[in-house]
């Protein structure tokens, strides 16, 4: 008995001797920053030396109260929720479907598609952000194409009007017709279009209708400012699109690798029983991958909540914070303008809590609806 007790004691010592160094390193590397972040979020620390500098003290939950009454916090949280939603309900289903198509060889050149879809994830996030911000900019190819189309269409109208009215030989009719053919923005150019536009038209040489037409198009043609990265209600759409474009390939690889582990004989048995491709996907492959999907969802959620570089490169969280997410909001409070370390730490803690909440929800859903591998 004594011998057994001694052996157990020895085992315990050996166990602690092996575990303790790693445990201490873990505590130092992970535990300490988390505890420090919690402490700072409850303090009035204003920077500088923590000990021996400006005195600071624990002030309670003031920072959290400030957060909950700050509309920019809720705006950042809302934007984060959009990204979580597009990640969980966009990246995962698309990644799964593409993986399935490649796995079942429904498409040809599987390796090519696999590569094409994964390439965005291999490019530096900052490069991707800058690339797409150029594409979406007011001088980008999308805005350019749209504005060329608008200008051409408007130009055709103006040419028709100039011909029909006889140009500057009949300035009243010309003015009237141009006003009718122009967008409402004409009122931002001329406070009284009927008078001011007529005066403007009369400043041109009547014989030079080509210049007149060209200038009228420059001045009054409908123009799209490509403001989708600056409008409050739509600015997150391009960012969600780029997020989707960038990460689908990663989940494709994860799902494909796990699909390749499924016993082929199960699928063959389902085929012999007359199962369609949709049924094989929904009733054989999907349940087999439920744990992988749950784990991927956790990756998605944590990635979406801590995602920083892409939005920083695309918009910097602006303009006027319309595309700000929690991580940029935190960075903003810590390093931009007036550093507010307690508030920044409170935001960090909120990000962690929100992630834990979503991950718990994901586990609950997996337990309730997930299949057994």
């Amino acid at each position: 008995m004594n011998g057994t007790a001694t052996k157990l004691e020895k085992d315990r010592r050996a166990y602690w001797a092996m575990v303790l160094p790693s445990f201490l390193i873990y505590l130092f590397v992970f535990g300490f920053p988390i505890v420090l972040a919690i402490v700072l979020s409850l303090s009035n620390y204003s920077g500088g030396k923590m000990f021996g500098g400006t005195p600071w003290r624990i002030t309670g939950f003031q920072q959290y109260l400030r957060l909950f009454t700050d509309p920019y916090f809720w705006n950042a949280l809302k934007n984060n929720i959009y990204i979580v939603l597009i990640s969980v309900f966009g990246q995962l289903p698309l990644g799964f479907v593409f993986a399935y198509l490649i796995y079942r060889k429904t498409v040809r050149f599987e390796a090519f598609w696999q590569g094409v879809l994964y390439v965005p994830a291999m490019i530096s996030t900052i490069v991707v952000g800058i690339l797409w911000s150029i594409i979406f900019s007011p001088y980008g190819p999308i805005a350019d194409t749209a504005n060329h189309y608008y200008a051409d269409t408007y130009s055709a109208k103006i040419s028709g009007i100039v011909q029909a009215t006889g140009g500057l030989s009949n300035p009243d009719a010309l003015t009237d017709q141009i006003i009718k053919a122009s967008p409402k923005t004409i009122h931002t150019v001329f406070s009284d279009p009927a008078v001011d536009l007529k005066d403007f038209l009369l400043s041109y040489d009547p014989s030079d209708t080509a210049t007149l037409e060209k200038d009228i198009v420059n001045l009054l043609a409908p123009r799209w400012n490509a403001d989708f990265l600056s409008k409050n209600n739509i600015a997150m759409i391009p960012i969600c699109f780029v997020t989707l474009w960038m990460w689908v390939g990663t989940y494709l690889l994860i799902f494909l690798a796990n699909m390749q582990k499924i016993d082929r004989s199960i699928i063959e048995a389902a085929q012999i029983d007359g199962a369609s491709e949709t049924q094989i996907m929904g009733r054989v492959v999907l349940p087999s991958l439920s744990k992988v999907i749950a784990n991927s969802a956790i990756l998605c959620i944590s990635g979406s909540l801590s995602g920083f570089a892409l939005i920083l490169a695309m918009t910097g969280g602006g303009p006027a914070r319309v595309t700000q997410v929690l991580s940029i909001y935190m960075y903003d409070k810590a390093f931009m303008g007036a550093p507010d370390y307690p508030l920044a730490n409170a935001i960090a803690i909120m990000i962690v809590l929100f992630s834990l909440l979503l991950v718990a929800l994901m586990f609950a859903l997996e337990r309730r609806f997930g299949g057994k591998e």
């Binding site: 319309v322 390093f335 007036a338």
Partner: protein, 435 residues
């Protein structure tokens, strides 16, 4: 023989160790855009100091714009400030001043040395901490209307002297595919620093800002709301396009140089972007064209202005020395030697020639200036009176909602009244915290 060689080697090792031990290392955090013209020349200036001071090792880190400020904030947070820091007299360097993280340069540089500079830059009252935390290299005028005079004359237009004239020329310019006024409003400080400060200076004056901070008037008062409304009017009139909110600070000079805008509003430092880069020999605007086709003007008269011709200006940036360096140490002496070199007449002349700024040193003259630099000197002389740059006069917690609000006015998502309320709320909170 072997013994002799060994002895010599040992002697050399000891000698080199001794030499190494005498070297003083100073870390420098500098603000410079490596893509801007004159970068190679700037590096040569620093290299000369390194060559002339073999007993000092310089470890230099360079950043510009937001990354610079953010890294500096990280250094402050971590308590690992470099020994010599490029900094502002207030604004984004407020923490350095208020926490006294940098030394008072007055006793370190000495009266004799400081007497070479114009008195206003050595006056400590102009700096946030009310001591000479940095030696301003210049007086910075933050509102300059860079004007393409050739483009205007081709269209039969003149440089506007009133806002009404500026507004009236907008259709003529737009008809030729030219935007009237270009600003890089994607960075939220630009509108506040480079235009709104002047608008407030013209319509209200510095005294009004002092009174607002003292609680005698409020930012929600009609007068201030009117100043915000003027910004809204410029957007509504199409004088400034709403798409400028998507134009980044880096891309604006090229657009202006390409003739995409008749006017470009920015600070005086921006002339540097158009000058000849000596290493490549290229300029965004050719010096000949700088002379003939462009001019620098004050913003035209604003309806309802009380202080005509006023333009915003602030003490310029400069270098400070970390307070963590022990007094009287070799490191402190090395840092002072570096500063005296950087502020020497020779180096300041080179910076003037590079178009970095109009130096605050009184004894610097040069006949090698590009037209834009000479025109900027003339512009400085033409401004009758200066006013606050708001991010230099207001606390960060107050100008942050102002910067944000000016963008929101541009986007049309907030009214001037709403922006004024958010600023006043920040003032109330700031006053409560500083009671």
């Amino acid at each position: 023989m072997k013994k002799k060689i060994c002895s010599v080697l040992v002697f050399l090792v000891i000698l080199s160790m001794g030499a190494y031990a005498q070297k003083t290392t100073i870390t420098v955090f500098d603000y410079i855009d490596a893509t801007a013209p004159g970068y190679a020349e700037n590096e040569a200036i620093w290299q000369k100091f390194i060559d002339e001071n073999p007993d000092i090792t310089l470890v230099k880190e360079e950043l510009s714009n937001e990354p610079f400020h953010q890294k500096l904030a990280a250094y402050v947070a971590a308590g690992t400030l470099p020994d010599v820091i490029y900094m502002y007299p207030s604004g984004r360097s407020t923490a350095l001043h208020e926490q006294k993280l940098v030394k008072d340069l007055a006793p370190l540089l000495g009266k004799d040395f400081l007497s070479n500079f114009i008195p206003s830059v050595t006056d400590p009252s102009g700096q946030k901490g009310k001591y000479l935390a940095e030696l301003p290299q210049s007086i910075t005028y933050t509102t300059v209307m860079f004007t393409n005079t050739k483009l205007l004359s081709d269209l039969g237009l003149k440089v506007p002297s009133t806002y009404a004239e500026l507004k009236a020329m907008a259709p003529k310019l737009k008809a030729k595919g030219i935007r009237p006024v270009l600003m890089a409003n994607k960075d939220d400080w630009v509108m506040q620093s480079c235009l709104f400060s002047t608008i407030v200076g013209r319509m209200l004056g510095d005294e009004w800002i002092d009174n607002a901070l003292a609680g005698k008037v409020k930012f929600t008062d009609k007068d201030f709301v009117k100043a915000l409304e003027f910004v809204q009017t410029m957007y509504k009139d199409g004088v400034i396009g709403r798409d400028t909110i998507q134009i980044s600070y880096g891309e604006a000079p090229a657009l202006f140089a390409e003739g995409k805008a008749a006017f470009f509003i920015d600070g005086d430092w921006r002339q540097n972007a158009f000058l000849t880069d000596a290493s490549s020999g290229k300029a965004l605007i050719d010096p000949k064209l700088q002379q003939t086709d462009f001019g620098f003007y004050n913003f035209p008269a604003i309806p309802g202005e009380k202080n005509p011709g006023v333009a915003s200006a602030v003490l310029g940036c400069g270098y400070g020395i970390s307070a963590s360096i022990p007094a009287g140490s070799d490191k402190e002496k090395a840092a002072v030697r570096l500063l005296k070199y950087l502020y020497s007449a020779d180096v300041q002349r080179q910076y003037l020639e590079l178009g970095r700024y109009i130096t605050s040193r009184k004894d610097v003259k040069s006949d090698k200036l590009e037209p834009f630099t000479m025109k900027m000197v003339q512009y400085h002389d033409s401004v009758p009176k200066t006013c606050y740059v708001l991010d230099g006069a207001l606390d960060t917690s107050i100008y942050t909602p102002l910067n944000l609000g000016l963008q929101q006015i541009g986007l049309g998502t907030k009214t001037p009244e709403e922006v004024a309320q958010s600023i006043q709320a920040a003032v109330d909170a700031w006053r409560a915290a500083h009671k």
